[in-house]
Point group: C2
Chain length 130, copies 2
Amino acid sequence: MSSAHEGPDFDKGDGLLPAIAQDATNGDVLMLAYMNAESYAETLATGRAVYFSRSRGRLWRKGEESGNVQKVESIHLDCDRDTILLSVTQVGGAACHEGYRSCFFRRVTPEGLVTEGERVFDPSEVYKKK
Amino acid sequence: MSSAHEGPDFDKGDGLLPAIAQDATNGDVLMLAYMNAESYAETLATGRAVYFSRSRGRLWRKGEESGNVQKVESIHLDCDRDTILLSVTQVGGAACHEGYRSCFFRRVTPEGLVTEGERVFDPSEVYKKK
């Protein structure tokens, strides 16, 4: 079943597959984004997470603006080869553009969404320098 | 920002959003599937993970065939409210229909995919009883 040519099946999902970034140090799920074949290939080649931004319609080199790149420690594929799991070291300590360690900083409760995550940086400081 | 009516934004993704199931005990990412509004509502109401099967075009009550249901311990939403993170207790110890604890049982290496996960059950035994 194994060959050097096996990889994600980008024919599924119209060429875009979900990619989960998980913190290599503590297992926290940091974010989910999408990859196309090109971003996956660049991730493999560079060892840094490169996604495809659906809203911007182009490659998204995570951290290109904030400096908070993700060093890729390992990659796993799921049974259907249509989801990618990245184990990453998150430079800067925060994956979320809102300044939280994880994008999943809000918990669903009967009373609504409750913010649980800790803010690592102030987004207005990080993204203003253009 | 919080209200009892806040939830996933199912208007994105044509009504289907990715849902990540993470093992509540050790943080392993077990699988990724999709939810629509109905499956999300049933998940909240029952405390068991209910997905929407894209291939079968219907609700998929995880474990309906294998008995390996997922008890939902908590739910988090990401910053864009378009990805759902479930913390689950996986009954039977295996989330993957191929019998592995996690669907992400294969690691990407320069030599191809390498199976790392441990097989908990034999799929031919679990799925033959119809």
